[in-house]
C-alpha cells in the first residue's frame, strides 16, 4: 500500500513551506511528500501547527513562502476558480465536524452534491444514504447537527467530506476529545472508508493508538518541520529523542517541555 512514490506525481507535495502569524513562526521550511494512495499520519504536540499544516494542503491558508502542489499543480499559481476545482478532489473533516448548523444532516451531506453536480434529487438522496451508511449512521438525514453527539457530528462531517468521492481525505484531529469507545468507533469508520474508497489520506492527531491503526507512514511535526517520517513499525522503534518522548509520553525526554531542567 505504501510507497508508489516513484511511479508518478505525488498526491500532495509541500516544498519549503513557511508560515507565521503575527510574527510568530508556525511552519518554517516544511517539506512533505504524500504519494498517491498512502495514508500519512502527522503526529505532534498540541499547538505545534498541525492544523495549520493541513489547512495549507487544501489551500485554506496561503504560505508566506514555499510551494503547495496537489497532483503536480501549484495551488497558488492558478486562479481562484481553478483552485476551487482542485479542492473538489479533497474531502476534509474538521475537528468538531464543522457542520452547517442551519441545515439538517441530509442537507449538510448533499450540499457539495447540489452545488457541484447535476445529480437528480433521487440520485442525491441515494448518495446521501450511501454516505451515511459508510459512516454507520443510516437513517439520520432529518436530524439537526445540534441533536447529535460529538462523535456523531464528526462522522456526519466524514460523510459530507466523502460525498463527492474525493481522491484525498484530510482528517483534522478526528478523535480529540472523544471517549475511548467513540474513538474506537471513529477509527473503525476511518479504516472502513480507506478500504472502500482507497484514497490518499492525511490525518492529524496526537493519539498514537489512532495513528498506528490507520497509518502507512507516520511523521512527527516539530518546530515547524517534519522531524522524521517512517513506517509505523520503524517509528515506534526509533531512538530519536523527540519520537521516544512522544511515544512514551515522557516529558523529561523532551527538550522544550521542561525548561527548568538544564540537563538533557
Amino acid at each position: 500500500m505504501g510507497g508508489g512514490g516513484a511511479t508518478g506525481v505525488p498526491a500532495v507535495r509541500l516544498t519549503d513551506v513557511s508560515k507565521a502569524f503575527g510574527g510568530k513562526s508556525v511552519l518554517s521550511g516544511l517539506d512533505l511528500v504524500v504519494p498517491v494512495g498512502t495514508s500519512l499520519v502527522v503526529l505532534g504536540k498540541s499547538g505545534m501547527g498541525k492544523s495549520v499544516l493541513l489547512k495549507h494542503v487544501i489551500g485554506l491558508l496561503r504560505p508566506d513562502s514555499g510551494r503547495v502542489e496537489v497532483g503536480g499543480v501549484d495551488l497558488w499559481a492558478v486562479s481562484a476558480r481553478e483552485r476551487d476545482r482542485i479542492r473538489r478532489r479533497f474531502g476534509m473533516s474538521f475537528q468538531e465536524g464543522a457542520l452547517f448548523d442551519s441545515m439538517t444532516v441530509g442537507e449538510n451531506i448533499s450540499f457539495p452534491l447540489r452545488r457541484h453536480t447535476r445529480m437528480s434529487p433521487a440520485e442525491v438522496r441515494d448518495r446521501v444514504a450511501e454516505c451515511l451508511e459508510l459512516v454507520r449512521l443510516p437513517g439520520t438525514e432529518a436530524k439537526r447537527p445540534s441533536d447529535l453527539s460529538g462523535g456523531m457530528r464528526r462522522r456526519v462531517g466524514f460523510a459530507r467530506a466523502i460525498a463527492l468521492k474525493p481522491e484525498i481525505l484530510l482528517f483534522d484531529e478526528p478523535t480529540t476529545g472523544l471517549d475511548p469507545i467513540n474513538t474506537d468507533a471513529l477509527v473503525r469508520v476511518i479504516q472502513h472508508l480507506r478500504e472502500s474508497l482507497r484514497p490518499t489520506a492525511i490525518t492529524i492527531t496526537h493519539d498514537l493508538k489512532v495513528a498506528f491503526s490507520i497509518a502507512d507512514r507516520v511523521a512527527l511535526l516539530e518546530s515547524g518541520r517534519i522531524r522524521i517520517e517512517r513506517s509505523p513499525a520503524e517509528f515506534e522503534s526509533s531512538d530519536d529523542t523527540s519520537v521516544r518522548s512522544f511515544v512514551r509520553g515522557d516529558s523529561s525526554l523532551d527538550e522544550e517541555a521542561v525548561p527548568l531542567e538544564v540537563s538533557r
Partner: protein
C-alpha cells in the same frame, strides 16, 4: 514619539479597514454576477432582514412621526404657522427620518444578526468547511444578505413614510384638534416625487452598507465566543456611524 506613533497606527488601521471593505465589496459584486444564483437563499434573507424588521420599523416611524407633529406644533404655534405641521412632518419623514431611522433599526436587528451568524460560522470552522467544499464563502454568504438588504430596506422606508405621516396625523388631528381635511391637504401640498425617491435611494444605499459591514465583521471574526460578541458590537457601531456619516454626504451630493 508615542503620540505620532499612535496617530500613525490609527490612520493605518482606518485605511486597512477601508481597504478590506472595498475588497469584500468587489468580491460581493463579482459573486452576485457569477453563477450559481441562489434565489432560495435570497428569498430566505428577504424574509429574515425584511419581514422580521417590520415591527420595529413600524413602531419607530409611527412614534417619530407622532413626536414630530407634537414638537413642530408647539414650536410653530409661536409664530402662527400651525398650518404647516403636516408639510414639515411629511417632508422630514420622507427625506430624512424614515430612511435613517429604518437604516439604524435594521442595523441593530439584521446587521448584528449577520455578524453573529457569520462570526459563529467562522469560529466553528464552518467557513473553512465551505472553502473546503469548493464554495466561495463571500458569494455564498454575502451576496444573498447584501442583495436582500438593498431590496428590502427601501420597502421598509416606504412603510415608514406611511407610518410617520400616519403618526403625525393622529397626534395633530386627534390630540391637538387640527382639522383633518386641511391637515391631509397640507401634508401633500409641498411634496414632490423627488422627496420620495431621495429617501428610497438613500435606503438602498444604507441597506448595502449595513449588510456588508455586518457580514464583514462576522467574516473576519477572531477568537471564539468573545470574538463573536466583539464582531456583533462592532457591526452595530460601525454600521450606525457609516449610515449617519454617509447620510450627510448623500444628501449633500445627490439631492
Amino acid at each position: 514619539m508615542p503620540f505620532l506613533e499612535a496617530v500613525g497606527r490609527f490612520v493605518l488601521a482606518l485605511l486597512e479597514g477601508f481597504g478590506r471593505f472595498c475588497e469584500l465589496l468587489y468580491r460581493t459584486l463579482l459573486g452576485a454576477l457569477r453563477p450559481p444564483y441562489d434565489f432560495r437563499a435570497l428569498l430566505d434573507q428577504v424574509v429574515r432582514v425584511g419581514v422580521d424588521s417590520v415591527p420595529v420599523v413600524f413602531l419607530t416611524t409611527l412614534f417619530t412621526g407622532a413626536v414630530m407633529a407634537l414638537q413642530t406644533f408647539n414650536g410653530f404655534a409661536r409664530f402662527h404657522a400651525e398650518a404647516y405641521v403636516g408639510s414639515v412632518v411629511a417632508l422630514s419623514m420622507l427625506r430624512e427620518l424614515s430612511p435613517v431611522l429604518s437604516g439604524l433599526m435594521v442595523t441593530g436587528r439584521a446587521g448584528s444578526a449577520m455578524a453573529a451568524e457569520l462570526g459563529t460560522m467562522r469560529v466553528t470552522e464552518q467557513i473553512d468547511a465551505l472553502v473546503s467544499l469548493a464554495t466561495d464563502p463571500v458569494q455564498y454568504l454575502f451576496v444573498p444578505r447584501v442583495l436582500a438588504a438593498i431590496i428590502v430596506v427601501p420597502m421598509l422606508v416606504v412603510l415608514g413614510n406611511a407610518m410617520g405621516i400616519g403618526g403625525g396625523y393622529l397626534v395633530a388631528v386627534k390630540i391637538l384638534g387640527a382639522n383633518p381635511v386641511i391637515y391631509v391637504e397640507n401634508t401633500f401640498q409641498f411634496l414632490r416625487m423627488n422627496d420620495l425617491w431621495s429617501g428610497v435611494i438613500k435606503a438602498a444605499f444604507f441597506g448595502g452598507l449595513l449588510s456588508l459591514i455586518g457580514c464583514q465583521r462576522g467574516f473576519d471574526t477572531k477568537g471564539g465566543a468573545e470574538g463573536v460578541g466583539r464582531s456583533t458590537t462592532s457591526a452595530v457601531v460601525t454600521g450606525s456611524l457609516a449610515i449617519l456619516v454617509s447620510d450627510f454626504f448623500l444628501t449633500k451630493v445627490l439631492f
